[in-house]
């Protein structure tokens, strides 16, 4: 009985123990209709596409041998976690990928659905769903070639579980792309005080410094969940030009590319079904 009890505690499918923080959800709900104003509250996220889309695109192109003229990401299934209004899903869809965008805030999904609806070609390539990552794990085991979690991990309640879920829905050898903010004195001063309170680059209250993630911690969590971290790049926002660039230092923003271990390697978690069978077998003979 002890082992069954342990099993229940470990189970990641329960919605009562979720990686979604309801306080965070409320923050984004208020701005749900502002996503697509390129000069508005989300301007910095729009211009982030100028570096994160090429980063994802070029990394995937370098790993594959097929190239479809005009549709470089054709045939690739991507999960955009925390897709918001679809700012990143749409460019990926335009490049030919099949994108599933999930976000716990229903208003965001509504905005995203509405925005894609005017372009029938694009609309077919993207599916939006109001959901947390945990909620789709069961039906999406090893379904996606790529997961993109951009500007999301600094908002989740349980990062370790989040990464484990990513691993579950990702195919072996699949890619995980994360962009987020480091937890440093600099990121407090520039990322919160200046960006939110002084310059209004980011709506006030968007970020909590406590939830920022240092790259070392992220790398550790990734490696212990069966990922191999391939790239860590610093990102820098220039508020005067409104544009992003790559930089040596990861003290502020940074991007990570990690690859899930291939089919032959052992996963660090033994699937629960095996656990039950073993223990029932044991229980049966006890």
């Amino acid at each position: 009985q002890l082992s069954l009890f342990r099993f229940t505690m470990k189970r990641p499918f329960s919605t009562s123990h979720s990686s979604v923080d309801s306080k965070e959800m409320k923050k984004f709900q208020l701005l749900a209709h502002k996503w697509w104003d390129e000069e508005g509250e989300y301007a910095a996220l729009h211009s982030m596409n100028d570096i994160r889309v090429p980063f994802i695109r070029d990394t995937l192109l370098s790993m594959s041998s097929n190239y479809h003229l005009g549709n470089p990401l054709s045939g690739i299934k991507i999960l955009d976690v925390g897709c918001g209004g679809g700012l990143l899903s749409e460019p990926l869809g335009r490049l030919g990928a099949s994108v599933t965008g999930i976000d716990p805030v229903e208003d965001n999904i509504r905005t995203a659905d509405r925005h894609k609806s005017f372009d029938l070609v694009l609309a077919k390539r993207i599916q939006y769903k109001s959901s947390s990552l945990e909620e789709i794990v069961e039906e999406s085991m090893e379904t996606f070639d790529v997961i993109v979690a951009s500007e999301v991990v600094e908002h989740v309640a349980d990062l370790e579980m989040f990464i484990k879920c990513c691993s579950q829905v990702l195919k072996p050898d699949g890619s995980l792309f994360i962009t987020t903010i480091n937890k440093t004195q600099l990121s407090y001063v520039l990322g919160i005080v200046v960006a939110e309170k002084i310059m209004g680059i980011v709506p006030e209250g968007t970020h909590e410094w406590e939830k920022f993630v240092p790259p070392e911690e992220l790398e550790h969590l990734l490696e212990s969940s069966g990922f191999s971290v391939k790239t860590v790049n610093g990102m820098l926002y220039n508020p005067l030009s409104g544009s992003w660039s790559w930089t040596e230092s990861t003290s502020l923003n940074y991007a990570v590319h990690a690859v899930k271990a291939g089919a032959r390697a052992h996963a660090t978690d033994i699937p629960p079904e095996t656990d039950i069978q073993q223990h029932s077998a044991t229980a049966g003979t006890a």
Binding site: E38, V53, F118, D119
Partner: protein
């Protein structure tokens, strides 16, 4: 007017890019995008008010509308496969340009050091024939609508509310409608796109018309020099078409233009020869002052004065080839807006004296296609101002100085007043002696 709410299913067909205007610049824009690797799966439409012309059978006689194509423009036409067609049809490379003043001996010669071609004189019909072939080659991506004049445009709100269409709506004369993510206005100096977008245009009608004609030379020659002489009434230019034929572009007053068109062929030919050869406008004062300046230069820079070649003399004009059109200058204050871009004469109109008109348009195309290609490869919204503004900045920077310089030159040379003649005489001679300035031009 704003776009109404309409469900996507019943909406007019949506294109990624619509080019309005099927002249040389509009057709080249559509052809270049159609051949771009990142536009492989995109939908492009080209709207042309006129009918599809048969360019397959070029007449033996030369057309009177020709353009001076710079090497840069030739490269652009090459990139979409059109230049090969031009070369297989007909064109005349020239190695040298000689420009001189009617009021003095001042002269400037342009020549590339490596004796490469400076440019090419090509009939506009030849360029259109080549572009039409290359548009046919990408017909799966580029749809050309002939006899399709656009009569109305409806603009979307920049950060659209969720209910209205985010695309530009185009209404054609026959009632058909299209939608597009980006509208490119290549519809000439009276651009409807520019007017409907309420983009201010700074324009000025010159009190000049250009007279064009196809001329036959007195004797066959290595016709690889472009000639231009600044008369007080305006510049007269002779552009080589072949060893025995040249194209005339004579900018002059409206009255003189009508006279030239009305007079008999012999008198017309005499006027041209006299314009190139006569020294009637010289004054002793200017001649002496000019000669003194030249000696001064040759002391400082021995190679500073070039050998003066003599222009060919004209024997006859092709009947029916004489025509005239009014000249003006124009510059749009903005080249772009959300989901709109202007190229070619729709954005800028210039005096033919610099032979730059269509080259500016081709330069616009090269720049805009570069930015659109990058945007497509980034999965960006093609109509986004972000990259359109980059195009505008680059081209305005380039075009404004050239248009202003051309305008200044035009005004400077429209006079016989001694001080100004002296100024430009010395200026021209000094420019001729200074390699860096010449290379820039």
């Amino acid at each position: 007017p704003r776009a109404p709410l309409r469900s996507a299913a019943s909406a007019p067909p949506l294109y990624d890019v619509v080019v309005s205007g099927g002249g040389m610049v509009g057709s080249a824009m559509a052809a270049v995008l159609g051949h771009d690797i990142h536009f492989h799966d995109k939908k492009i439409a080209l709207l042309e008010a006129g009918p599809r012309k048969d360019y397959d059978h070029l007449p033996d006689s030369y057309s009177n509308r020709v353009s001076s194509i710079s090497p840069g423009s030739a490269t652009l036409l090459s990139s979409c496969g059109a230049w090969d067609h031009v070369c297989s049809l007909r064109l005349k490379p020239f190695r040298r340009m000689q420009v001189w003043d009617a009021c003095s001996e001042a002269m400037i010669v342009f020549e590339k050091d490596d004796l490469d071609d400076m440019g090419y004189i090509v009939e506009n019909d030849v360029i259109m024939s080549a572009l039409t072939k290359q548009l046919d080659a990408v017909a799966d991506r580029v749809e050309v609508f002939y006899r399709s004049k656009a009569v109305g445009y409806t603009w979307p709100l920049p950060s659209h509310s969720c209910d209205t269409s985010p695309w530009v709506q185009v209404e054609l004369a026959d009632g058909r409608r299209l939608q597009t993510k980006l509208l490119i206005g290549a519809d000439g100096h009276n651009s409807v796109v520019r007017k409907e977008a309420e983009i201010q245009n700074i324009e000025h009608q010159y009190d000049q018309s250009a007279v064009v004609a196809t001329l036959h030379l007195s004797e066959a020659t290595d016709n690889n020099v472009a000639w231009q002489r600044f008369l007080p009434t305006g510049p007269i230019a002779l552009l080589p078409l072949s060893d025995t034929a040249s194209s005339l572009v004579w900018s002059t007053s409206h009255d003189h233009a009508s006279e030239l068109l009305a007079m008999d062929e012999e008198s017309f030919v005499d006027s041209i020869n006299s314009a190139f050869w006569s020294n009637i406008n010289h004054s002793d004062f200017i001649d002496t002052a000019g000669a003194m300046f030249r000696s001064a230069i040759s002391l400082l820079k021995p190679s500073g004065t070039a050998v003066r070649q003599l222009p060919p003399s004209v024997a006859k004009v092709d009947p029916e080839s004489r025509a005239t059109f009014p000249l003006g200058m124009g510059h749009a204050t903005e080249y772009v807006q959300h989901r709109v871009a202007l190229i070619g004469d729709a954005a800028h109109r210039v005096h033919p004296l610099a032979g730059q008109g269509v080259n500016l348009g081709f330069g616009d195309i090269a720049c805009l296609a570069h930015h659109l290609s990058a945007a497509a490869f980034n999965g960006s919204d093609l109509g986004s101002l972000k990259h359109l503004l980059k195009f505008e900045t680059e081209r305005q920077r380039h075009n404004v100085s050239l248009i202003a310089a051309t305008d200044v030159l035009k005004r400077l040379y429209s006079t016989t007043l001694a001080p100004l003649v002296l100024l430009r005489t010395w200026g021209l001679q000094a420019t001729n002696a200074l390699p860096p300035v010449k290379v820039r031009i």
